[in-house]
Structures are given as structure tokens and as C-alpha cells.
Amino acid sequence: MTVSTAQAPGAAPRLRRGLLQGLPLGPAVVLLGVFLAGPILYCIYSAFTDMALTGAAGAHFVGLDNFREAFSSGEFRQSLLYTLIFTIVSAVIGQNVLGMLLALLMRSGSAVVRALVSSIVVGAWVMPEVVAGYLWSAFLGNDGSLNHILGLFSVPGQNWLFSVPILAVSLANIWRGTAFSMLVYSAALSEVPKEIEEAATVDGAGTLQRLWSVTLPMIRRTVTTNLMLITLQTLSVFGLIWTMTRGGPSNRSQTLPLFAYQQAFQLSQLGYGTALALVLLAIGGVFSLVYLRALRLEDRR
């Protein structure tokens, strides 16, 4: 009442209309607030306590202890390193480059080959991640297809899940995720006007030169957005690695999500586990800020 009298006449109806218009946002905002923002705030709070799974009541504020413990632990630094390797090798390089390559090649391949290749690549993408995990453990295992193929060239076989676990899970993630980048880049490339590329060809530009200085610059916004999406998706991969290696052997494929899961649920260190989760969130945040900043710089051009 006091608020409405203090404002200019007409403000109250306008406010009411604004609220009415915003009302449909309600269900989404409530869900996002309760199940997404709530847990994140709780995450930030409990990362500074010594909360354990068994006695939530006995949580004490411990300041930065959890983070200090994390950054001084070799296991954590190792999993941080594996997270970065996994993300850069499988998303930023693997899925991104291979997806772009496929999208570019698709444009000049014949129709039959195009349909065949895209259904195979998309087929890999549609597989649920746990299934992808099992398919790749079978493929890379001791008696797996890869060793049989290598055997034809008399290369000695090995259990790739044990010898190079982080590369094994990265490869599986490339297999699973490339279709996404391919579809996104195909859609973007189909919107590049043919005339511009033809004009460049007429001006004597070679294929690579045309690609580098005409085609790619025209879809750079899509590239940035796609990089952001696949980076963040890859940072939080759990099921694939869990079914393939469970983070092993001796933690050599243990990325941050698996490390946090192990600390929080298997060792009941909720506070420490959430501190690790917070580090993961922060890494995701840093990556997105970089990409969003790149997009905003684009806007200004």
C-alpha cells in the first residue's frame, strides 16, 4: 500500500501487468531455483565445512581447509590433469575437428556415401553412454576387436584400458560425441551462401585458402558456441568412464567427477567431495566465460 502511493500513478497496474506477463516463467524458475540454484548454493556452503555423510548435524565451518587439502593432494592434482587431458583431447580437438572435417567432406561427397556415413556416426551418438562404455571396453580389451585387427598386421596386442586408460576413454568420447559437432557444423555450413565461396574460387583461391579465409570466418560464432557446449558436456562425463575403467587402473583415468564421487559417496567425505565438485563447477565457469567473452567480442565487431 505504502509502496503504491509512493510511486507515480499508473505504476501499480504496470507492475501488475508485468508480473502477469512474467507468470508463465514461474514453473521453470521454481524448478531451476529448487533443484539447480539451491544445490549450487548448498554446494558452496558445504565445501567450507567438514560435513560427512553419516553425521550431517555435526558439520563445522572449516574455512578453506577442504581446498587446501585438495590442492596439496597429489591425487587431486592428478585428477585435475586427467580432466584437462580428457576435455582437450576428446572435445576441443577430437569431436570438434573431426566433426568439422566430416561436415566439410559431407558437402562434396556423393549422396549414398553421405547417408551411410552420417547414419553410422549419428548411430554412435544415439547410443546411451553406458552402452557406449561397454562397447568400447569390449573393443579395446584383451580379446577385443582392436587387438584382432592389429594382429593382422602382427602388432602385439595389449589391454588398452590398462596401458593407456585416459586415451581409451577419450577415444570412446570422441566416438560418442562427434555426431553432435558434425550436425551443428553441417547446419551452419548449409547457411553459408554458395555465391561467396564461388566468388573466392573465381578469384583464384585454393580449397584450403577458401576454407580458412572465407568459409570458417563466416561460421565462427557457431564454432565458439559449439566449443562451449561440447567442453561443458565433456567436463561432466561420468557414466562412460565409470563403465569403462571406474577411474582406474590406479586412478589413471580418474577425472574430477569420478574423484568427487569417490570422495563423497564411497568415502563419505561430503564436505571434501563438494569442494571438489565446486572446483569442477569453477572450471566449467572459466571455460564458459572465455567462450561467452569471445562471443561478445564478436557482437561488437
Binding site: 506477463q21 512474467g22 508463465p24 516463467l25 514461474g26 514453473p27 521453470a28 524458475v29 524448478l31 531451476l32 533443484f35 539447480l36 539451491g38 544445490p39 548448498y42 554446494c43 550431517a56 567432406l105 561427397g109 556415401v113 556415413v117 553410422i120 549419428v122 548411430g123 554412435a124 544415439v126 547410443m127 546411451p128 553412454e129 553406458v130 552402452v131 557406449a132 561397454y134 562397447l135 568400447w136 569390449a138 573393443f139 580389451g141 577385443g144 576387436s145 585387427i149 547446419a187 557457431t222 558456441t225 561443458l232 567436463l235 561432466s236 561420468f238 557414466g239 563403465t243 567427477p257 568427487a260 564421487y261 563423497a264 559417496f265 561430503l270 569442477l280 563447477l281 566449467g284 561467452l292
Partner: protein, 282 residues
């Protein structure tokens, strides 16, 4: 003149063959794990390597097609993902409407937050969500899991729905408004019928995403009779030493089938061009 044309067309043919070969080489790398799945499922003595089944048999399917192993987890998955998809789609359509039709000050920050949240590593917040669910007694309940799964799918779903809704011209609704229709009536009778292909994309995309989700039900559900297929495949095959590869392949195939079929519907409907690519332009 004619010879220069044939030289050019021959060169074009040669480069097309080179491109085709390159594409087939990549596809060959992709196809082997899928081939294993197809062949091993019909081979009672399947190993980890690709081999031709002799004889072809349905024994693996017979072995896994039981209530406890297949039917119940599939049913749970359908309830979980169907419910989650329904909640997500309804909430996103409602939320997309004001975002698409009105201008307000909080719009840009809200949309940026949504875009940011699409990539939020959900894995990271599972620990606090577990704590939250224990405190409010939602742990190991389907309804709790449905609400949380719906929320995880919500950001990307709102983003896509808003983009599709932007494609429906606002003039059509303005005519209805002058005839006295409310905004919600306009949404139901004008906007939704016009954007149903986009809505189908969002629905199917959400369902496929939830169907494949392993970690969320893995953490939030624990009773065997509530686990969806994504988790039961792990509890069934992952925890008891020796893996029966044939049965694993058969089960994987059954579990993947809904996602594959839905994707086929999706791509058929849209004539191959998976138009969510347009929504990733940022």
C-alpha cells in the same frame, strides 16, 4: 571446348571419389563397435571381438527378456523419462512464451543464465542434490528423480523452445488479441500448432537425453525395483565378474532401441536437417 569440359568434369569426379574414400575411412573407424553390438547379440558364444555368429540365435534375447532384467527397468525408464520429459516440455513452453514475446529488463541476464546452465556440469551438483534429497525424503522416489531430471533438461529445452517460438510471427497473435483472446489462449491455439515440429524436436531430444542418463538415477535411486534400464544394465553386467558378452549386447540393443527409433522419427520428420543446429548459433 568440349575436351576442357571433360577434363574439368573428370577432375571433379576424381575429387568426389577422394572425398567419398575419406568419408568411408572415418566411417570404418566408427562402425566396428556398432557392428560388434549387432553381431554379438545374435551369437550365443560371443566374445569381445567382432565375429560372425554361427549359428544365428535368439538365445541371448531369451535369456535377458525377463521381468527383472528387462521389462521392469524399461518400464521404470519409461515412467522416469516420460514424466521428466512432460514436466520439462510444459515448463519450457510456458517459460519460452514471455521470453519470446515480451521485452523486459531481466530478459537478457535470464537468457544468459539459461545458456550458461545448459552446460552446467550436472555431475558436480549431484553430491549436494543427494544431501538435499535425503533431508526432504525424496531420495529413492521416482517423483523426486523425475523432478530433478526434468530440471537438468530444462535449460537446453527452454533455449531451444524459445528459438523455435521466435520463428512464429507475432502478427498472427496480435490479430487474436484484438479479437479478445488472452496471451495463453493465443499460445495454445496459434503458437503451439504452428511450432509443433520444433516442439517435437524438443520433446524427443529431451527424452533421448534422459533415457541415456546414467549418473542421476544411479545416485538418486537405490531400490532394485525402481532402477531404470540405464542403471540396471550396470548393476546386472558390471558387478559380477565374468561378463556374458552376448547377453550384454542383446540387452544393450534392447535398451538403445527406443532412443534409436525416436531419433529416426525425429530426422524423418525434419527431412534430415536436424534443425536444432540453428539454435546453437548463440
Amino acid at each position: 571446348m568440349s575436351s576442357s569440359v571433360t577434363v574439368q568434369s573428370r577432375r571433379r569426379l576424381r575429387s568426389r571419389v577422394a572425398v567419398d574414400l575419406a568419408l568411408l575411412a572415418v566411417a570404418a573407424g566408427f562402425v566396428i563397435p556398432l557392428l560388434w553390438l549387432l553381431l554379438a547379440a545374435f551369437d550365443a558364444r560371443a566374445g569381445a571381438s567382432v565375429s560372425w555368429p554361427h549359428p544365428w540365435t535368439l538365445a541371448n534375447f531369451n535369456a535377458v527378456l525377463t521381468y527383472d532384467t528387462t521389462y521392469r527397468p524399461m518400464m521404470n525408464g519409461a515412467i522416469l523419462c516420460g514424466g521428466g520429459t512432460l514436466v520439462t516440455v510444459v515448463a519450457s513452453v510456458l517459460a519460452a512464451y514471455p521470453l519470446s514475446r515480451y521485452e523486459f529488463r531481466a530478459k537478457r541476464p535470464f537468457l544468459l543464465t539459461i545458456l550458461f546452465a545448459t552446460g552446467l556440469p550436472i555431475t558436480a551438483i549431484m553430491v549436494p542434490v543427494y544431501g538435499l534429497f535425503v533431508q526432504v525424503n525424496l531420495i529413492d522416489t521416482l517423483s523426486g528423480a523425475i523432478l530433478f531430471m526434468a530440471t537438468t533438461a530444462l535449460p537446453i529445452s527452454i533455449w531451444l523452445t524459445k528459438n523455435f517460438m521466435d520463428g512464429v510471427p507475432v502478427e498472427l497473435e496480435q490479430a487474436a488479441w484484438t479479437d479478445g483472446a488472452s496471451a495463453m489462449q493465443g499460445l495454445r491455439s496459434i503458437v503451439l500448432p504452428l511450432m509443433w515440429p520444433g516442439l517435437a524436436v524438443v520433446t524427443i531430444y529431451t527424452f533421448i537425453g534422459l533415457w541415456g542418463n546414467f549418473f542421476v538415477p544411479f545416485v538418486l535411486l537405490s531400490s532394485n525395483d525402481r532402477l531404470p534400464a540405464s542403471v540396471s544394465i550396470y548393476t546386472f553386467f558390471g558387478q559380477y565378474g565374468q561378463i556374458v558378452y552376448g547377453q550384454l549386447a542383446a540387452y544393450s540393443m534392447l535398451y538403445s532401441l527406443p532412443a534409436v527409433l525416436l531419433y529416426l522419427v525425429l530426422s524423418r520428420r525434419l527431412g534430415g536437417a536436424f534443425s536444432f543446429g540453428g539454435a546453437v548459433k548463440g
